[in-house]
Amino acid sequence: MSLLTRLLERNLRNSGAGARRLYSNHAEEESSATKHEFADEEFRVLNLRSTSQATQQKRKVFKKEPVQPPRHQKMATDQDWSAVWPGPRTFQPSVVPLPLRQGYTEKGAPPPSKFANAELMKIPNFLHLTPPAIRQQCEALKKFCTPWPKGLETLENCEKRFPIEIKSTDYCHALPTIRNPEARRVTLNIKLSDLKFDAHAKDKFLRLVGDRYNPNTGILTIVADRCPLRKQNYDYAMYLLTACYHESFVTESWESSKSEADMEYYSFERNKSKQSAEAIINWGQPVEEAKKLNADHGFAQSVEQLINEGENVYNLGKYKEEVLKLLNISK
């Protein structure tokens, strides 16, 4: 480009007259403004662009701040650590005055130091829960506490006197609103053994609560979150428990139509096994209700166990023993 410009300029100079026509007006003004600069130079620069020099911004030179030495070097040995690290926070190598090392290296090399160490940042730390910090917080909370009620010293006592356990969560955060929608959720726990039932009521109650009852732990859990406020949800959970409990004692007319297939467990009394076992025992006897022999309790139990617990070698062995006894077969 510059070569072309020079050639052109030289030609222009030679031809003298045609030169003015080639320059644009703008360029003419500019060249007149900077005339004195180029006066003593052999070549002048031809600027074909219409943009002014002023609009062309100079590229900023990025100046790097000098890196401060790690903060922990300035820390006093008797400083208040809980002020330095007041809450949960990702690991910060410049703040923690400990020569920590963590991570995998080839054999023989020491683990990487704490600076720029992702391994240390990944793991959760408990630097905000040092014993002095906890002590400090406990001290601060103490003035809000009341003495522990008498008679509730042991856990068994607590569970006995307060069988219902209510769980809810408070959320604390620095936002324009202090409300958290999750705080309305109320969980009610109660051990089923703390409620008094008869056989029918228990069966019905379990059907009403469905999968809210955990048969492994024996705990019923009701979670209420449909109302906007915690108080409302608490009332609703208590209402559910009360309503289910009392409803379970109501016997509807259609409940008598429950058939064998609807039963939750096998009962010897209502099954064909009892009929056949008793028919065999009473074989050849005149049919008299009063004199009828009943099947052995042990046999009944073994059949129930075999079917309710499922088949295994032990249950089958027990069943065999009871059958031999029932049928009076000598080995």
Binding site: K272, S273, I280, W283, E311, K320, V323, L327, K331
Partner: protein, 392 residues
């Protein structure tokens, strides 16, 4: 010969490879150094099953060819075992502890009481069918009328022919299988039935012209069923109810032995109905008579049934335990029954079996420790042991 040895044995196990390469030289002589066999260790001359007791446990007794022919010509022994019998030129059965237990129960049975149902169960290949064979032999020797079904799943899985039943609406008839069973029944019981002279109690009218009048012998009834295959299933129903009645009248004793009994309670068969749908076993005309005769409502009888995993189809073979295989219905039908577990060989039985195989020259290579290897390889399972020793 050494080359053949080292070629053949490595197929068994890696241990065997190590052995045959390292100690091959030393073992050449041992190969033919056959252990001295004392036939009383593994055989018993006691062929009367009534006398079998704990003394004979684990020993082999011989079934005479005539009796074998009478009992099992219509099936009843596993096919592999049949082949082995042919190879060994003798039919030997081991006296297993389960069959001893069962025979003991049968001997002590009070025949004025309702029939007791014994259910044999166990893993594949432990000898349920052969235990039943032993008991059947006992039945034959002690004048039981044998009602023996060799393998029920044959009816439910691969019947020869299916026909819509004429008398029962919606039922399926298996005329060929029914006739084959009648033949089997006849071969097993012809002698005894001619002795007993059991008569039919009522008229059986098959068609306008054909009828079996009351007072004809059961053999005539059976022969009619064989000759007129069309009525074979109904004949079986009639025969079994007649037998049951005679037993109730103390005229005979009956041993019911049904192998693969759980097939009667399988959720479905492979038989296609009219609309090309698989039918359930209770829609087969043969099912009901055999369920009737395994009921408890008669006396002078004994029922020995086996439940078998391989009688089921895919998806129903998770367990070998009787409640699972019989299902709810089957369990209710049989309850109370005596479950009898057939187990793998004990050490004593295993040793006896190995000696018997050596005696029959079934095992010819006897390098040191071969029986230990076989024990680990077969897990003392009789069937696995039989398969493993084929190549030795």
């Amino acid at each position: 010969m050494l080359g053949r040895h080292s070629f053949k044995l490595p197929r068994l196990t890696n241990m065997c490879v190590a052995y045959s390469t390292a100690a091959a030289e030393a073992s050449v002589e041992q190969l033919y150094n056959r252990p001295k066999l004392t036939s009383t260790d593994y055989r018993t001359a006691e062929n009367n099953t009534k006398q079998h007791s704990a003394v004979h446990e684990g020993k082999f007794y011989t079934l005479s060819p005539e009796q074998k022919k009478q009992l099992f010509s219509g099936g009843g022994l596993p096919r592999q075992y049949e082949q082995q019998i042919k190879t060994f030129t003798e039919a030997c059965l081991m006296v297993r502890p389960t069959s001893l237990e069962l025979l003991n129960y049968i001997r002590n049975t009070d025949f004025t009481r309702p029939v007791v149902r014994y259910v044999l169960y166990g893993e594949n290949g432990v000898g349920k069918t052969l235990t039943m064979a032993h008991v059947l032999h006992y039945g034959l020797q002690n004048n039981f009328v044998l009602v023996h079904v060799p393998w029920v799943p044959n009816w439910m899985k691969r019947p020869k022919e299916t026909v819509n039943a004429t008398t029962q609406e919606g039922f399926i008839d298996l005329p060929f299988d029914a006739a084959a069973w009648l033949v089997h029944f006849k071969t097993q019981n012809a002698n005894l039935l001619t002795q007993l002279q059991l008569k039919t109690s009522k008229d059986y009218v098959w068609t306008k012209r054909e009828a079996t009048p009351a007072g004809s012998t059961l053999l005539e009834l059976v022969e009619h069923g064989i000759a007129r295959i069309k009525f074979a299933s109904e004949t079986i129903a009639a025969l079994l109810s007649e037998l049951k009645q005679h037993a109730n009248d103390d005229k005979c004793k009956i041993m019911v032995a049904i192998d693969g009994f759980n097939a009667f309670f399988h959720p479905e068969t492979r038989i296609l109905g009219d609309n090309k749908q698989r039918i359930t076993p209770d829609r087969v005309t043969l099912t009901q008579p055999f369920l009737d005769i395994t009921n408890y409502n008669w006396k002078n009888g004994v029922c020995v049934l086996t439940v078998d995993k391989i009688g089921m189809t895919e998806g129903y073979m998770d367990s070998y335990l009787p409640r699972y295989l019989l299902g709810k219905e089957g369990f209710e039908h049989l309850d109370p029954f005596v479950p009898l577990h057939v187990d793998n060989y004990s050490d004593k039985e295993f040793a006896s079996c190995i000696q018997y195989y050596l005696d029959r020259n079934w095992i010819q290579k006897t390098p040191e420790g071969f029986d230990e290897q076989l024990k680990y390889l077969s897990n003392k399972n009789p069937y696995t042991l039989m398969r493993l020793t084929r190549s030795l």
